[in-house]
Amino acid sequence: MAEILQLSGAVAGLVHDGDSVALEGFTHLIPFAAGHEVLRQGRVDLELIRMTPDILYDQIIGMGAARKLVFSYGGNPGVGSLHRFRDAVEHAWPRPIELEEHSHAGMANRYAAGASHLPCAVMRGYTGTDLMHHTRVRPITCPFTGEELVAVPALRPDVSIVHAQEADRRGNVQLWGIPGVQKEAVLAAARSLVTVERIVDKLEPRPGATIIPGWVIDAVAEAPGGSRPSYSLGVTERDNDFYRVWDRVSRDRDEFTAWMHEHVMVGS
């Protein structure tokens, strides 16, 4: 059963140095508040897992907290590059970062295999691409039809952190809008934290919503506005201007570092 905790206590209890950590959210519901708390608590040597690294991982990588990144698309959607991610890969600043990259389909199937507690997922893909030679994927033959397919290894993060619109006092979570791979990420992980816009007495069922029951979650923490500058459909709006501004802020190492200390690291 999920414990309802303060964000700082939840992160302190669940995220340790060296952990593999998945903070998921596909454009929508990105858990910025929790990611910032991980940074403020000074966690280091993290293996970051996420389909679309986005600004949050640009910040964590730029602050030197990650030793490895497992991902499928490292861009600022609709804007361009993630400059801190690029600087880490191209110039090892502020530290070298190991990459393990996949396609979206590969990452999605890896999470689904992890949620199923299977060792791998079987899919069509990768064949004929150079990715095949630079990542963890193996050819496999279907034992029934003989079709040549590929297998990708399951993702089993030490910790998964996702954000949702609401939870009740027993830690049952409801999220709606673009669901991404959040349910899979929670079910694949050894430990999990869900931050929510609000904690309510009773969840009002919404058509098409994803429910994650409290008994598969370790901790739920209230974090109003916790997905900004991403968004929580029906509660906050995506701050598209910030995604454009980030392109400028993140280009320069000093400007980036000063910005992070002023806006994120305060109080640490």
Partner: protein
């Protein structure tokens, strides 16, 4: 992306049932197609929104308006396994940093993989979109930087590529090699060859793009101003 390029891309969707829209500019062309040519066109974004009806061009593929207007919204595993991988989405609109004569795409690195000069975003959904969707339309700026003799990294294979739409014209595969089949008004074959990193072949009966109509242009300008 030039106006004529967007208009030509939108025309490709006149008869299409459904289109998968990659990150960035292809979105404008697909929304324009729904406005002008094909109101029943099903727009599919990688974020899981199927049948989205955006009023404005979204900045990201996961903007709120896409989810709010979609016929259905699905998880990422469902999107790739049930919808894209099965060939249920007819046309894919993709972009890329590099393309070769076989329509293969690079969106991973410029330079060596282990020590890239430029680290690009990576594969995203492109590899399985390009093999899952029966028809792949690539939309790219026409320059030697993009149209290269040899890719630095093969991210996405080109076997389903049916058209490459650029700001100079249109390339289509002929005998397994991208060949110039159409130029926009006022563009010469030499000009296109000059902007291509391989010895570009052109068909004999080259067509010239029908200029954008008043209706297409006013709809496009209205759309981008929203």
């Amino acid at each position: 992306m030039s106006e004529v390029q967007t208009v030509v891309a939108a025309r490709r969707l006149r008869e299409a049932r459904s289109v998968f829209i990659g990150v960035g500019r292809p979105s404008t062309a697909a929304i324009l197609a729904r406005m002008v040519h094909n109101p029943d066109l099903v727009l599919v974004y990688e974020s899981g929104t199927i049948g989205a009806k955006p009023h404005r061009v979204p900045l990201s593929i996961g903007d709120g308006e896409l989810a709010e207007t979609a016929d259905l919204v699905v998880s990422v595993p469902e999107m790739f396994n049930y919808w894209i991988g099965t060939g249920r989405i007819q046309v894919a609109f993709l972009g890329a940093a590099q393309i070769d004569r076989h329509g293969n795409l690079n969106s991973t690195v410029i330079g060596e993989y282990a020590h890239p000069r430029t680290r690009l975003p990576g594969a995203g959904g492109a590899p399985e979109i390009a093999t899952g969707c029966p028809e792949v339309v690539v939309i790219a700026p026409h320059s030697r930087r993009t149209f290269v003799e040899k890719l630095d990294f093969l991210t996405t294979t080109g076997e389903h590529t049916t058209h490459v739409i650029t700001d100079l014209g249109v390339l289509e595969p002929r005998e397994a090699e991208l060949t110039l089949t159409q130029v926009h008004e006022g563009v010469s074959v030499d000009q296109v060859r000059e902007a291509t990193g391989w010895e570009l072949r052109a068909i004999d009966e080259l067509s010239v793009t029908e200029p954008p109509t008043a209706e297409e242009l006013s709809a496009l300008r209205e759309l981008v101003s929203r």
